[in-house]
Structures are given as structure tokens and as C-alpha cells.
Symmetry: C2
Subunit: 343 residues, 2 copies
């Protein structure tokens, strides 16, 4: 029952066809038209048929050894449990498969020491390039990596002027501001996420700018930082309420943080949306399913992943590439409906 037969090699194909391995290699790797430069029509035919019949599969490590290209890319994310990053990774993996590339993914937990260590592991695996979903603003790590000649792109978060595929988060913040202001909210609190994540920074900047342009200044105590998950949102919301009472709107830089915040509001008997509007970000599937369906900003997470991988392969090919920033879309639901005037 044991399968001892070794895999089919180029050599076996070559022997069976009665031709040299180099010819087989060239025929296999060239396009239909190109193949004619290397072998006669009849030989090409024979090679193709034997390859199919014997089920030949190239040995990728042998090929890598020779070509010095592994067809591997490493992906670092803060945490795969996070729906947003999992979705982005799905986009990356989907695009990679289409290109015949394989990906390694690993969690950094947003800890700089991990980022460095995991990156080294990836490099020791001889990846052709890397994709970072966990870029930290202000850390020199990525700059040093670029200096070393390592090829990489960023997804989800941007940093410096490294190439990245992101959502236009400033725009996303502005959309929220317009919506909240136009429905009469004036005292807006922001759950800004982690201070090192450009996503939170940009979303916050967007809403703050748009409010300022409308003549509304958001005071510092209305901007609190915290994790991008439910417990993080819970804890941040508590801090905000304790620092200055309840605002009439809360914008969370992440749906899960919004859910955590709504938990706090419920505990304290504060009504959503009547007392306070709540808006999240990303349009997680859960958002629509919540007891109070959540208004949120839809970001093209899957597409961000796809574009990130495409950027990387272009870069590896030697092309000049530019960052892409995809447009967000506001999704209106019950959690931010206009307050019912109290009679």
C-alpha cells in the first residue's frame, strides 16, 4: 500500500521520448509558439503527450535552486483571527494561486520584535518578496528592510512612501463625518484604534478634518485609542465615557470595536441610535446581523489583498509600481438613524 514510486522527472520524460532533458525543459516552459524555436512539431507533440500521460510535475525546489527564484511570498499580518486581515489574506492567496505563486502567512501580533523575527524566517525560506499587513507608523524596520534590497509591499496600512494597497481611509472618515453631521449629531467621539496603525490614524484624520471644515472641533478627550477587536472597543468606550460623559455619536475605526462599544452602551442603558449614533468600519458580515444593525464604512478588503499581491509581482518583475488607494463606501443602517425627537 506504500507508495514508493518516485515522482516523474524530466530525465524520465526525455528518455521515453528519446531526446535530451534540455529539450524537454524548453518545450515545457515555452508557449506554444515559442516551443517551435526549440523542437520540431512532431517532437513537441510527443513530449506533450508523454508529459500528460505520465503526469509529470516539475520539482519546484530543483527549479528554484537553479533559477534563484522560489515562487514564494511571505505574508505578515497582525492576526489572522481578525476578520479584516483574514479577508485581505484571502485576496492575496487567491491572486497568488492565479499567478502560480505560493504564500506563507504568519501572525506578528503587532509586536515589532515578532515582525523582525518572522521576517527573518520568511527570508531564510528564500521568499521572493514579502507582504506586510502590520506596518507600524514610525518604526524604522521597513526602511531598513528596503535598504537591504528586500522587495515588499504593504496592505491595509500604509507607511512612509513604501508601495501599498489600502483603502482610502481619510475619505472613509470624511464620509462618516458628513453623514453624522447631516443627521444632526454634533458631539462626536472616536475610537481611533491603535496609534501605530495608519488605518486608525487616517480614519480619525478624515473625520476630524471634515468636522473642522464644518466648524466643529473634536476635542482631544473625544479621541481614545484601543484595540481593533470587541474587548478593545469595550475598554476604549469605557474610557471615553468616563472622561467626558456620552457623546451623541461614536465612530469606531473598526466594526468589532463598535460592537464592544455597543456592549458598554447597553450596560449603561444608553440607547442606540436615539441617545447616541454608532458607526463602525469595514462592513463585517456581522454588522448587518446585530440586534441594532450597524452603520459602517465598507472597505474593499478582498480587493486590497489582490492588488497587494499584484503590486508585488509587478515589482519583482522589475516594473515601476505605484501605491493604490481604493474607495470606501458608506453603508447606512439603524445604529445611526436620526434620533427620534422626544415628545
Amino acid at each position: 500500500m506504500e507508495n514508493l514510486s518516485r515522482p516523474v522527472t524530466l530525465r524520465m520524460i526525455a528518455d521515453e521520448v528519446g531526446v535530451n532533458v534540455s529539450t524537454v525543459s524548453r518545450v515545457i516552459n515555452a508557449s506554444d509558439a515559442e516551443a517551435r524555436r526549440w523542437a520540431s512539431g512532431e517532437v513537441i507533440e510527443r513530449i506533450r503527450s508523454v508529459v500528460a500521460e505520465r503526469g509529470y510535475q516539475r520539482n519546484p525546489q530543483a527549479a528554484s535552486l537553479r533559477t534563484r527564484r522560489s515562487g514564494l511570498v511571505g505574508v505578515l499580518v497582525p492576526r489572522l483571527q481578525d476578520f479584516v486581515l483574514a479577508t485581505i489574506y484571502e485576496g492575496i492567496e487567491e491572486a497568488a494561486t492565479e499567478q502560480g505563486i505560493s504564500t506563507f502567512v504568519t501572525n506578528s501580533l503587532d509586536i515589532p520584535a515578532n515582525q523582525i523575527a518572522r521576517t527573518e524566517i520568511m527570508l531564510s525560506r528564500r521568499v521572493d518578496g514579502l507582504i506586510f499587513g502590520d506596518a507600524h507608523a514610525g518604526e524604522p524596520f521597513l526602511d531598513e528592510l528596503a535598504e537591504r534590497g528586500v522587495r515588499f509591499v504593504l496592505v491595509s496600512r500604509r507607511s512612509g512612501n513604501h508601495i501599498s494597497a489600502t483603502c482610502d481611509d481619510v475619505m472613509g472618515g470624511r464620509l462618516v463625518a458628513e453623514h453624522l453631521l447631516s443627521s444632526g449629531r454634533r458631539d462626536i467621539g472616536i475610537l481611533a484604534g491603535q496609534p501605530y496603525a495608519s488605518t486608525g490614524i487616517d480614519r480619525t484624520a478624515g473625520i476630524v478634518q471634515a468636522c473642522r471644515e464644518a466648524g466643529i472641533e473634536i476635542p482631544p478627550h473625544r479621541i481614545v485609542q484601543g484595540g481593533f477587536d470587541a474587548p478593545g472597543g469595550h475598554e476604549a468606550a469605557v474610557r471615553m465615557l468616563e472622561a467626558g460623559g456620552c457623546p451623541d455619536a461614536i465612530f469606531a475605526a473598526n466594526d468589532f470595536a463598535a460592537i464592544g462599544a455597543m456592549g458598554v452602551l447597553r450596560e449603561r442603558g444608553i440607547a442606540v441610535p436615539d441617545d447616541v449614533a454608532v458607526v463602525g468600519y469595514n462592513d463585517t458580515p456581522l454588522a448587518a446581523e446585530l440586534p441594532i444593525p450597524l452603520t459602517t464604512v465598507r472597505s474593499p478588503m478582498h480587493e486590497i489583498g489582490r492588488q497587494g499581491l499584484d503590486l508585488l509581482v509587478s515589482m519583482l518583475r522589475g516594473d515601476e509600481v505605484e501605491s493604490v488607494r481604493l474607495a470606501p463606501e458608506l453603508i447606512l443602517r439603524a445604529s445611526s438613524a436620526s434620533a427620534v425627537p422626544k415628545m
Copy 2:
């Protein structure tokens, strides 16, 4: 600024130390004690220091080519967006990293054709073994794979008598039955999940058995199948209510399905837990954060992943291995509190 310097090779180390590459290879790959069989203390010392100083890293594809082992394992999951599978994968990846193994992960979306295609891609990458998180009951695919001599283990779901690391889902179902029955519930509905997933099958079997032992028979119209996510739970709950009115307890084989079901109950003005108790499965972080905190069965997802990988490496080493089944734990919360007697 371009980094053209090629990586350090064994040959360079050997030349610098003044010794043959074979000696360097042996010293590097052997344990401290073992190394003494191959070189004198002084030579070992010199090799080690040069290796460290030059930052030598073994070329894994060259090594794989020679050893016929890639140090790679492929992981197939239904969908990485699913928190449960993402967590299991995190366990796999964590254990793999500890063992110096790298993993490829990909989504099958629970579609058999995808499972086959993705598996072939993994095999063409020359993985040493595979881990399936998407085993389908009744499909011949895994049997055929085993017949071909491919090494693999299952996680999360079991199938036939292939080696697997799972939660004891039957036990999980029983725990729920005991709890609901002891708090006076008698008409229990089950959101059983997908019919091909052993998780749903076993959890359902567990609760049905335990109820039967207590003299309560759960009728067929109280068992509905559906997706393991919020929309799936929503849709399944609707079907159940329409088939036979509202039971006094609902057990969902998955927290997200439970959330979807609670959405339906809210829409219809059915009170949780007063009119109906709701119990989920997996103890997702969100469960505790919900408007009505969710009673659920905690399954050791991360540990399932770790054990799955460990099983696979044991198997690859040639050891005789046995499936592991980890114990679940019931987590009581508000969604299944005893109904307040109506005065």
C-alpha cells in the same frame, strides 16, 4: 543601494575555515555532542563562529532537493474568514514554526472540486504532508489520497478512521442537553450546521442522545441544517420557526449561527432567554460581548491546531499515531438563564 551580494553558502564557510563543505554541513546539522564525531573541538568552534559572523542561512530548496523532504505542509480549510478555522490554523502555524516547518494554507470553500484541485497544487509544491480542516463525511476523496500514500491528518472534523485532532463534539452536545434539561427546557431546536461536517453531526448526535436518555425525543422538524455563519444561522432559524413555531431552547452548532438566530428572534419579538434559551458553540470572543451574552461550549481550537500539526510530524517521522479528541467546556451566560416565571 541594490543588494546584489549573493547569499552565503556552505562553500564560502568551508573555504574561510579551510575545511571541506561536507564537514561544515555535518557540524551544522548535528547536535553539540554528535558534532564531535565529525570534527575536532577546535574546528567545530571555528565553523560555528564563521557561520554566525557571516550570517549563513541554509538554502532550503537545495537541501530539499537532496533530502527529498521539503519541510512544507499544506493546510486546507473551508474558509479562513471563519474565526474557528482561523484560530485552528494559528495553532497549526505556531506549532509548525516551533518545529522549523512552514505551512501553506488555502480555502476550499467546502467545495469538493476545490479540495481536489487545491490538494494537487499542494502536492505539486512537494509538501511532506497535509492537514485538512474541511473533511467531508461520505466523500471518497480522503480514502483515495491515503491509498496513494499521501500523508495527512484531519483537524476540527473527523472522517472514517483517518487520524484527526478534534473536539469531543458528542460530549459537547451532551453538556448542552444536560444544561438545558436541568433548567427546565423541554422543546429543543437544533441548528445542526452542514450535513457533511462531523462537527455538526456529532454535536447534534450528542444532544439528541442525551435528551433521549432523559426521555425526551427531539422530532425531525426541530433539526435544521445550514451554514456555520451568521447568515446561515439566520436562514436556518427562520426555517425552524416556520416549520413548527418557536421551541423553548435553540442549540446552534456554532456561535455565529447562534448570533444569526438571535437576530431572527429579535425581529419577531421573541425574548431571550425568557421565551427561548440560546446556546452556541466554540466560545468566540464576541459571545461574551453580545447584547445578550451567549451561553456556549468552549472548544480548544488553538490546541486542536497544535495537536494536528504534531500528529502529522509524528506520522511523517514514521511513528504510529492515534487520533486525539479534546474535551469541551460549557460556558454559562445570560442567553440560557432559567426563564423568569411569569407572575
